[in-house]
Subunit: 320 residues, 2 copies
């Protein structure tokens, strides 16, 4: 069995297949092994293979009036790929299932470009997909990746620090502005339309010994509860420590969804080793926002309940 | 790394997660490793891993007035899994992404049961998925499987026989009847609502040396053109040989889609070895319908152009 990807298979004439051919032309060498009943996955070279699926539906996950077709594609790809970053994995292969109303046919190439840019940046390939008509535009993206060390949601231990990447609140602020008929700030809009999967950050946290990790899609408050439930622990978060974007209050930032930043738990000693070199990992900050405690399986957000274990890192926990 | 599947991860409270918990309860031990950002795939024990995705959209792939919610689930699962059978693969893992309008919430358990029955029968497990609101009900199913010998669409050689499993025309006849406001025959309805992935048949054809294979989703005529285009050959089909269901003309049967029967090319000697023991492989017939010739990359359906190479098998090519 060759490790080289198989070439595309020729497809017969027809409008549906013309559309698929147009997408393949758009993607160029980013797409491999398209056109058979199924794609062949090359054997992983070490590590563990992981898989996830995510859907992006018009008028549920975005409104066309808010963002461009290219940005729709970027967001759909990031939302799916971010789940791999949150496992400490890197993306290898992507399958894309489009449901396309007539009104979207002309814009499909722009959507494909947006997805392609993110997938190319991730170092992955598009190996399959599906194209269907339908009344509502949607993109369902399957992502397959590989992890040297899988970081689940369930491994948080009592005493671990709770850390988060980046600055939160942008997507929430952008949606709130659009809903109010206003224009979001450039920073908030950028965070909504062009989020980035946190590959380097997820890798570094996994390698450093993170015990549990999740990407922030429902909002920090909600995803912290996921992680707490999966690990059977209590996440004590300190609102004042939440890293919020410009002009955004921390308690608002922790409700903002579709951030695609990473929330992780990591033992104190491992954090001590990671923090001084974080600046070489990523340009976005890594911030300690709480501590893992025993107790009910729910995270709480409490002002003034400082996680004492990391107080002495407080001044240094945002490298830039 | 253990080969045992990981247990489910607990999820936090909330209506969305209650729905996921209800699905997991419905599926029981059929679902594993649900609730993390991504599912871990156990390493394949030999063979090649293959992956495919397929979408089933209300009012595109089915109408709710025609079939039950359970049958919607069956069809969605079969449509996706059949692509693995057509590669000569067996299913291992399934991810299911639902888009669910409010009107479908009560019926989601029945859909899940239908999918679950097919996935269980296939010997696969549900390892992940996605749940989204949306205006139109859809199911996007990702299937991951393993093949000892992958059979692509592209390997057909000049002189190979063209064979097809089962009796065609049922789904087409059922849809035609419904569209005319009539009731389809029990046989035609059964073929539409409860198709079956041809696992044993795909395995046997792959092991016997089939050179190219595809499942019939667009109709025999259309899928033969796919296979011809992928292989760069001409498929000469003889209409009179098309195995059609009761009361269905062969030329109508070859236009019927969503059959999920297999169309394959196989060298004469390999067919000779397989045909006598086909009855022990499958209860459905294996019928020679044509021959692969050099020439333009399009399949034609021609009366009276008998593929001479298999004429002496004509009397024995439908074992029952």
């Amino acid at each position: 069995m060759s490790l080289e990807p198989r070439p595309h298979q020729a497809m017969r004439e027809g409008a549906e297949f013309d559309t698929i051919r147009a997408l393949m032309a758009r993607w160029g060498d980013l797409a491999v092994d398209i056109g058979d009943d199924a794609a062949v996955l090359t054997p992983p070279v070490g590590g563990t293979r992981v898989v996830s699926v995510d859907a992006c539906v018009e008028d549920v996950h975005f409104r066309r009036a808010w963002i461009s077709a290219h940005e729709v594609g970027v967001r759909a790809a990031v939302a799916a790929l971010s789940d791999l970053a949150a496992m400490g994995a890197r993306a290898e292969s992507v399958l894309i299932a489009f449901v396309v109303p007539d009104a979207w046919r002309e814009q499909l190439s722009d959507v494909a470009d947006g997805m392609g840019a993110v997938i190319r940046e991730a170092g992955a390939r598009i190996v399959g997909g599906n194209l269907s008509r339908g009344a509502v535009f949607s993109i369902t993206t399957t992502v397959i990746g590989r992890a040297t060390r899988v970081v689940p949601r369930s491994g948080a231990g009592v005493g671990d620090l709770v850390v988060v990447t980046g600055l939160l609140g942008g997507p929430g602020a952008a949606v709130a502005a659009w809903r109010a008929g206003e224009s979001p700030s450039a920073w908030a809009r950028g965070r909504f339309v062009a989020p980035a999967p946190r590959w380097a950050e997820g890798d570094a946290l996994a390698a450093a010994g993170a015990t549990a990790m999740i990407d922030i899609s429902d909002g920090l408050a909600g995803d912290a509860r996921h992680l707490a439930a999966a690990s059977g622990v209590h996440l004590a978060l300190e609102v004042a420590r939440i890293p919020a974007g410009p002009g955004i209050a921390p308690d608002v930032a922790m409700q903002s969804g579709e951030e695609y930043e990473l929330l992780a738990c990591i033992p104190l000693e491992e954090y001590k080793a990671l923090a001084p070199r974080w600046g070489s990992v990523s340009p976005v900050p890594l911030t300690v926002v709480g501590v893992v405690r025993a107790g009910p399986e729910a995270a709480t957000s409490t002002d003034g309940v400082a996680p004492s274990a990391f107080d002495h890192f407080a001044s240094g926990n945002t490298p830039r």
